[in-house]
Amino acid sequence: MSATTADSSHASDTLPGGHGHDSHSHGKKGILHYLWNTDHKVIAMQFLFSSIIYLVIGGSMAIAMRWQLAFPGHPIPILGHLLPPSVVGDDGALLPGGFNMLVTMHGTILVFFVAMPVLIGVFGNFLIPLKIGAGDMAFPALNELSYWLFSLSGFIMLASFFVPGGAPGTGWTAYAPLSSNDVYNNHTSFGQTLWCISLFVNGLSSLTGAVNYITTVITMRAPGMTMFRMPLPVWAIFITAILLIFAIPVLSAAAALIIFDLNFGTSFYRPAGGGQPILWQHLFWFFGHPEVYILVLPAMGFVSEILAVFSRKPVFGYKAMVYAMGIIGFLGFIVWGHHMYVSGMSLTLSALFGVSTMVIAVPSAIKTFNWMGTIWRGSIHYTVPMAFAVAFVSMFVIGGLSGIFMASTPVDLFVHHTYFIVAHFHYVIFGAIVFSVFAAIYFWFPKMSGRMWNPTLGWIHFWATFVFFNMTFFPMHNLGLAGMMRRISDPTVYDCLKQVQPLNVVCTIGAMGLGLATLPFLVNMFWSMFNGPKAPANPWHSTTLEWTLDYPIQHGNFPVTPTVYHGPYEYSVPGMEKDYLPQNEKAPAHITLEAH
């Protein structure tokens, strides 16, 4: 193993990712420097700022929907005037069709234009080369192409609001034949077609990224950086990239079939022409379920590392963590049918998927216990990134446990497509994934921008987010159990839901608070980036390779390729004066490190 890694790291100097092309990237001046730049660190920043813009757009949509659900038919203050005319009426109140468009675009934007680029585009790009001791990605130009494909797909997606008929109103799941036949959507197909094209282009972006990550991790590790010495975020993104390679093409193909059905008269999903509507669901969820793990695995990776750093302890069960992620990645491909227990799929298949779904809860449980093991007997430093990481574990536990209800086939008969599932996946996607992203941004931004953040604003952001997040999403469990369907724009039309309307108001107030809670974060980010105190090279006393470099990190990263001597999380090693042992430092002769 060590021989191969040594060879490949030598190769990295001559690969395009090495120092070889410094001249042409650094020669550019001004804005062009940031528009086309093959340095993985700059690409990470491009992804970061783009996805923050999409976060604001997609989050505002959520608040508009929440307003409508709490106060149906009332004009939305402020936001009502900003939304496109296809969505709101003249008085600024949401139209029923407009609500469906927001349902669709909120889901699509948050999944494809916020969560994926932030987790994979930002941190995959920024962390992989720095953490494995490489000069850049294996294919730097492909990397920048990945960003521009992503941007292009975003423009196409947003453009759908302004075509005749507006954005698609079929949900981010776009179930056929509603999505695949324009007669069911007032004879308009532009929005849905753009949606499909956008996801196709977005898929290309993800694939080019994934190819890059896999190649980089396999071939460009520094000498001594064996696979089992890689930090967990690298492992997580590596496994995620493999999932992307298998999952994304299925979505792209399925979306292409919708384009054919919509515009060229084919009948892949149209029963009248011999097609099968459920085919779309199988294809979509074959992508869609691994997608959940594509999002949550990197989040788990970041949190594992941050918990270890601030507990000043090695990650508990490092190998168990890696194996659990691998098992999640594999099982993630055989549980898609749990979205379809009651879709009209064979009942026997539902039962089978019920078993695989219960089994996939096991590796998640393993990880939770290992996180608790990591903080056990630690010396916990409470910083803002640590607070988000700590909250991640609890929110993930809630989201995981509520998932067991849906996993049980009979209970799904009751809670399927209600707000219970909305609560469940928001606990996973916001409570776990977004919390981990916040933790990761607070943790690594000193390395990205060379500045420290204002902790007071950070703490305000944390507590406001934590409180308002739970206020928004916890009551949704109750709403779901009361029978409130998801994706309805006015719950008060149902007699049985009238009495739970106060809960909808609570959720909406929470959502508005959650939106405002993001302001201190944005202020902190943009103010500290220029005015914060200068960050030392290793502000958190961390052990991994990125902290050995001073800001600004030159193009090519490491002046001298580092050599790695041990695993990534050697904290509080007995007999050592300082409580951390960087990966590129040999342990003193009198100390033996515990195997991990």
Binding site: P96, G317, V342, S343, M358, V362, S394, F405, V493
Partner: protein, 299 residues
């Protein structure tokens, strides 16, 4: 119908905690104090809506098992977690314990959840099979047809048998896909409301005329997609009490989705027979007065 509700109370109180005791109290209150209002939801926002089907009680039973199981896991793990977070906060002079893990613990916390989750999956699937066994022979068969944005129910006419549906024939001119030459077609009773007798199994044949809709009744603990081009024939249920409910579409189906609902009336066997035979007679009279077979009328 009151006696039919008693099993609900027994189960509720057996598993009662704070969460369900309110529900149980609400149900008892409704049965004993305001039976006339029994069809309305109890005025609390914490519990489940009343359950009015036999299979729904099975769903509720397993729901409660999972509720208490996950509740216990949540309380145990989170209280341990919070204790750790406080106990192991940074203190001067105390160094963290150096440990890379413990394989014995890993084996324990892998095996234990595996056993629990597999047991849960096996038990769930037994209930799933039980709920989905063949509809009893004495079931009342109703064709439930969904469209953008509404519902139509088709009941058997005087012959006691539904005119068979061929999903390939479903069209705007023939919304139920029936054969006009079949004498039963003219006899079929079409209703915009789902009226069902209490205590008798009801077998619904789910159809869609356009996109995917969903047959969802929270009080029945029942969700099933209606897929165009297919008959979903495995859904049946048996109501255990009378009342008025609402059938909801719970699958995004277009602009009017949010308001795609239909009333459900669970009535006594006698009331149901009276309702259906009145409709049947009306149809028979209309058929007799008309020389040619009328197409089913939308009420």
């Amino acid at each position: 119908m009151i006696h039919a509700m008693i099993p609900v109370i027994k189960k509720s109180s057996f598993f009662a905690g704070r969460f369900f005791s309110r529900l149980a109290t609400g149900i008892i209150f409704l049965i004993l104090v305001v039976p006339a209002m029994a069809e309305e939801r109890i005025g609390n926002i914490y519990g489940l809506p009343p359950c009015v089907t036999v299979s729904g009680e099975k769903v509720d039973f397993i729901f409660r098992i999972i509720f208490w199981l996950t509740g216990a896991v949540f309380v145990i793990t989170q209280s341990t977690y919070i204790v750790y977070l406080i106990k192991y906060r940074r203190r001067p002079g105390v160094k963290a314990h150096y440990s890379h893990g413990n394989n014995k613990l890993e084996v324990i916390w892998t095996t234990l959840p595996t056993i629990i989750f597999l047991a849960l999956a096996i038990y769930s699937n037994r209930v799933w099979d039980d709920i989905h066994r063949e509809a009893p022979a004495n079931s009342l068969v109703i064709d439930v047809s969904s469209y953008q944005y509404g519902w139509q129910m088709r009941y058997p006419g005087v012959s006691g048998k539904l005119s068979p549906c061929d999903v390939r024939q479903i069209s705007p001119q023939n919304p139920f896909g029936t054969d006009a030459a079949d004498p039963r077609t003219a006899q079929d009773v079409i209703s915009s409301e789902l009226v069902i007798p209490v205590g008798r199994p009801v077998h619904v044949l789910l159809h869609s005329r356009d996109v995917i809709h969903a047959f969802y009744v929270p009080e029945f603990r029942l969700y099933q997609d209606c897929v165009p081009g297919r008959t979903i024939g495995w859904v049946w249920f048996q109501a255990i009490r009378t009342g008025d409910f609402q059938l909801a579409c719970s699958q995004l189906c277009g602009t009017g989705h949010f308001n795609m609902k239909a009333p459900i009336h669970v009535v006594t066997e006698a009331e149901f027979d009276k309702w259906l035979s009145t409709r049947q007679q009306k149809n028979a009279a209309a058929a007799a007065s008309s020389s040619k077979l009328p197409t089913p009328k939308i009420p």
